[in-house]
Amino acid sequence: MNTVARRLSGHLARGTAMIWVVTTISFLIIRNIPGDPVRGQYEKLIEQGMAPDQAERATAALYGFLPTGSLWSQYTDYLNGLIHFDLGQSLSTPGTGVATLIGSAAKWTVLPVLGGTLLSFLLGVTLGVYAAIKRSGRLGDALAISGSLLHGVPQYVIGLLVTAIFTTLWPILPAGGPVDIEFDPGFNAPYIASLVQHATLPVLTYALASYGGWILAMKSSVATVLGDDFILAAELRGLKRGVLFRYIARNAILPLFTILALSLGMLFGGAIFIETIFNYPGLGLLLVNSIGARDYALMGGTFLVITVAIVVANIAADLLYAVIDPRVRAGGAA
């Protein structure tokens, strides 16, 4: 238990450092955008006839720091706001907090990303075992090559191809948006059916884009485990095939959890492309649109939340690893 706590605290320290670096980058970028949007907003409000101190407060509500302060005071104001979970106000959707917008966008990213990851993980791991066992066969070769190819191709290429096939050439699925607007939101069959229809292509794209990586990783991991002495020993003890398979699979999946942590970060990057292609209102699309709309508070906030999500995913994956591997749990030499 001690080791887990130690690992956790290390992760938290590193995660905090990363979040701090990201916020500082966001701050410096917002401060240095050509034309100074903060100052611009302040002056625009004054031109519209607002009193200077009122305009100052209105701008500060947008960005989290006063337009007239020094760089350092602006920086500390900004950090202070973030510590109190104040991400500022959105410019492109007036009267709405950045946090609210992010909150409603998050569910459209998290569910498809998790669904796609789970699907590709199961598929890739199963086929990876097969590719490892039939290493010299033709099908094993084909699986390995298709794995490296899919692993190498960027998500947007897969997304565009999938869309071209299923919405233009053979239009069986809707092209964009999260749901048809004609249905009443709620727990009713047509609405849910529409949700599922719209989610199919994004989830498929997530799955296709990452499954090649799982095949390759699982294949090499299984090959390593098959060479381990304890597998031969188990075979010589006459263990049943099913038991033997479980021994191999569990030992081979273990190292994949470290990759899982990294891949979740990659998927959030991929979400930007996939949500843009499918016009899916998640965090990625929010980030792209905020840049297009010059809504810099929203941009900084979204960037921050994506970073936090990656830090959390990393920690979760590491804890999962500790639960599965008794060596880590006990703190022995792993």
Binding site: D228, D229, F230, L232, A233, A234, E235, L236, R237, G238, L239, K240, R241, V243, Y247, R250, N251, L254, I324, D325, P326, R327, A330, G332, A333, A334
Partner: protein
């Protein structure tokens, strides 16, 4: 289940080949060996002499790229295991023939406790009374000087090398297999533990009436526990007979060399003489003639062309042209 009968084992003309870029090379070339029921047989030889391959053959478990090319391994009650496959073979392994792996320190699944692996073993062989199995395992571990309950509750990384090796032996014995193969069971152990483990192996062997095969490269181990001893060189059994006779009056020049190479505690270190040259590897094995001739002090012309066939007289078998000439002229069968 507890019917006590020790099976005999007859290995005949066993040839095992390994696939290499240079073609299929023999690791065992026509090996013949008989294990008398109820005895402990030792196999000694240098690394690469084919000891482990022979041991694996008893379970028909030669690993690719190797394969059994011809020959048979008859075990009483099981028939020829070379012909077994699939489910039949699996049921033999573990249940009828216990096997202690060469690298027994690494023979456990790192993610499961010893107890869970014991239950996996029991369920794989349809043991009805799993509680009795656990009891037996605890008792065996206890006899080997371990805290059985604690060991069953442990993962591999919580056990020392010696403890893991003893767990490996326990797993080979706990299903009451009557033929037990131990491949270098005591390498990497200190002298005291080694002695303890050998004593237990011998005790269990006698109590349960087993047939036991011990592979080792340690002449001391062989001398201490075995009833009969086979010496392997270059994929062949060159000498086989009762241990006391083989060690006391070795006939094959290789056995003589091996024994001369052992330094004795009492006596002059200079008396120990290393065997000149190196053992052959798969690639350097001579294609014809005697495989030992390069290092042999008794080399004759015939050794270059004819591989000496094993000749059995009484309880002893030797494969050497020189021995045939010295001890008895050819064609004379009886020699008392």
């Amino acid at each position: 289940m507890t019917e006590s009968f020790a099976p005999g084992v007859r290995v005949r003309d066993l040839t095992v080949v390994y696939k290499t870029p240079a073609g299929e090379l023999p690791a065992l070339a026509g090996v013949g060996l008989t294990l008398a029921p109820g005895t402990i047989t030792g196999i000694v030889g240098e690394s690469g002499s084919g000891k482990s391959t022979l041991a694996l053959s008893l379970l028909n478990a030669v690993q690719p790229p190797g394969r059994i090319k011809e020959g048979s391994v008859e075990i009483d009650g099981l028939g020829d295991v070379v012909k077994l496959d699939g489910e039949d073979l699996r049921q033999v392994r573990g249940r009828k023939v216990g096997y202690v792996f060469q690298a027994a320190q690494n023979s456990l699944n790192p993610l499961k406790t010893v107890g869970k692996q014991l239950l996996d073993l029991g369920r794989s062989h349809d043991v009805a009374d799993l509680q009795a199995l656990v009891r037996d395992a605890r008792e065996l571990l206890g006899r080997m000087g371990l805290d059985g309950a604690r060991v069953l509750d442990s993962h591999q990384h919580e056990l020392s090398g010696g403890m893991r090796q003893r767990v490996g032996i326990m797993l080979a014995l706990v299903l009451n297999a009557h033929l037990v193969v131990l491949d270098e069971p005591t390498t990497a152990l200190d002298m005291i533990t080694q002695a303890t483990i050998l004593r237990i192996v011998r005790d269990v062997h006698h109590e349960r009436g087993l047939t036991t095969l011990i592979i080792t490269h340690d002449m001391g181990v062989a001398a201490e526990v075995t009833d009969s001893l086979a010496v392997m060189y270059g994929g062949r059994v060159v000498e086989h007979g009762p241990t006391t006779e083989v060690l006391g009056a070795p006939q094959h020049p290789y056995t003589q060399g091996l024994i001369r190479a052992i330094p004795r505690l009492s006596g002059d270190i200079d008396e120990a003489r290393a065997l000149p040259g190196r053992p052959p590897t798969l690639g350097t094995m001579p294609r014809e003639g005697c495989v030992f001739r390069e290092r042999c002090p008794l080399r004759m012309d015939v050794c270059d062309t004819v591989d000496p066939a094993p000749v059995t007289r009484g309880e002893r078998t030797v494969a050497c042209h020189a021995v045939g000439h010295q001890v008895s002229p050819p064609r004379r069968k009886e020699y008392a």
